[in-house]
Amino acid sequence: MELINKSALELHDLLDKKEITSREIVEAYIKRIEALEPKLNSFVTLTLEQALEDADKADEMIKNKTSTTFTGIPIAIKDNMCTYHVKTTCSSKMLQDFKPPYDATVIAKIKKAGMPILGKTNMDEFAMGSSTETSFFGPSKNPWDLERVPGGSSGGSAAAVAAKQAPLALGSDTGGSIRQPAALTGVVGLKPTYGLVSRYGLIAFASSLDQIGPFTRDVADSAALLNMLAGYDPKDTTSLPNKRSDYLQALGKEIRGLRVGLPREFFGEGLDKEVEKAVLKAIDALATEGAQIVEIDLPYSKKALAAYYLIATAEASSNLARLDGVRYGHRSENQKDSVTMFKHSRAEGFGPEVKRRIMLGTYALSAGFYDAYYLKALKVRTLIKNDFDAAFKKVDVIVTPTTPSVAFKFGEKVLDPLAMYLSDVYTTTANLAGIPAMSMPAGLTKEKLPIGVQIIAPALAEEIMLNTAYTLEKAIGTIGLPTLEV
């Protein structure tokens, strides 16, 4: 029995029936991680010894009947979520030695559930990038083709799940950072409604856009993990005080009559033909299941990327101001006076893309330009939200490609920031509107590279979104996982 081939819910059943132990699962994953990590670089920090200890504790919980769905099932965590006394670097030199004095709320939930944490995954520095190429620790590789990027910013988490280095992982999504890498590595990635999952302890990039969400190998695992992550948290003032849903329970319902929106703006210029074909095939499959396909317009979605890159960088320039070498993080040797120390600590601690975005955000917020850039972008954000509000009067979910193309090669876009930003062209709208969206595999190209299809739903309609994904997964089948030589 190859434990690393099982989904998390399958592992739960085996644990529940006492056919396997958590220690056996964690040992199997450790073997896999050790074999593949030199090739993939999915992780910044491994916590394998702690994971084994936690596996033993989980096995006790199962014996004592105090276990829950994910007790004993290991997980990988993006390295921007605070883990008590375990390095949390944001893949930046700035935080390369930072050991948080507390756990993020999602980490506290994972520990309470008895889930062994395998390690902290690689990412673009401070989540700014779409390929992991901006990581201070070097890029992660796409398990489908080691010459290609796994996407980003949560590329390490995506690569780890696709390469069977972990059954589950957490990522964060500010403009597509869960969905884009999920699409590029052929796994399921979900960005919840803004406020559904606590951001407490998530090192902020753009606070009004950031959300934590799951990476899984199938839709059922995604629903089950969201069950665990979602919920009100008094430590996050943007946390929604809504009643909890059971997302797993929502799966398997018939979708007859479901109105699926097809936004014309997402199928135009710049979309790869093979990607388009696979996404249209997925939409056909939903129609075969009884869904009603409705063409819709989201006219301002074309302007979303431009609005996003001003709003996200403006918020980032403010959030990253705390990194000044005073209380934690890198401090420069150049300490002539305090301001010199700030400037050099930041110059030495941040990489080029983080500097560029701090500069862009500072400019957009600066006197004389605030109205023309930041305020203008916020108004366009309203128009984008209005587009979705109008669309969701006519349809229940919206289906689009996740990305305009499949995984690109290393170096292809890293020297042209704007080309890199364009890989987020279909994903930023959901963050701006605060609504949920997920990516799941829609097929493979001739070159055997995964294609992602995105499902977008109204705020707090994760149940409908996940059930649509589940139905689609059953209808078109899975693409499997890459065959990697160990």
């Binding site: 004095p101 803004y194 406020g195 009004s208 005073v326 209380r327 941040f350 500097k355 108004k379 704007l418």
Partner: protein, 98 residues
């Protein structure tokens, strides 16, 4: 179209408390101009009477009871400090001697 010059880059870098080398200033001027050129498309949108949207949640002024709760210990907080003395973060002199 050039929106910003090297002088503006220097001004913004100062506001952002970011030291840039001459090469970085050159590169930043080019790449920021390219991005700001892309951003010009926003100017063409009519946003007359459109309210700005700074966040997506319908929550406002989230209040809580003013109860005393535990917080991080001083010892834990200073574990990550680059420099400290007697329970304070130590930084280079801020106030000039006269």
């Amino acid at each position: 179209m050039s929106v910003i010059d090297k002088k503006t880059v220097e001004h913004i870098a100062n506001l952002a408390r970011l030291y840039l080398t001459e090469d970085e200033k050159e590169e930043m001027t080019v790449s920021l101009n390219k991005i700001l050129d892309f951003e010009q498309q926003l100017a063409e949108i009519d946003t007359e009477n459109v309210k700005p949207m700074a966040q997506a949640v319908p929550l406002e002024n989230v209040m809580r009871e003013d109860k005393v709760k535990g917080s991080l210990s001083i010892r834990e907080v200073f574990l990550n400090a680059p420099d400290e003395a007697e329970g304070f973060f130590k930084v280079p002199r801020i106030i000039e001697k006269d």
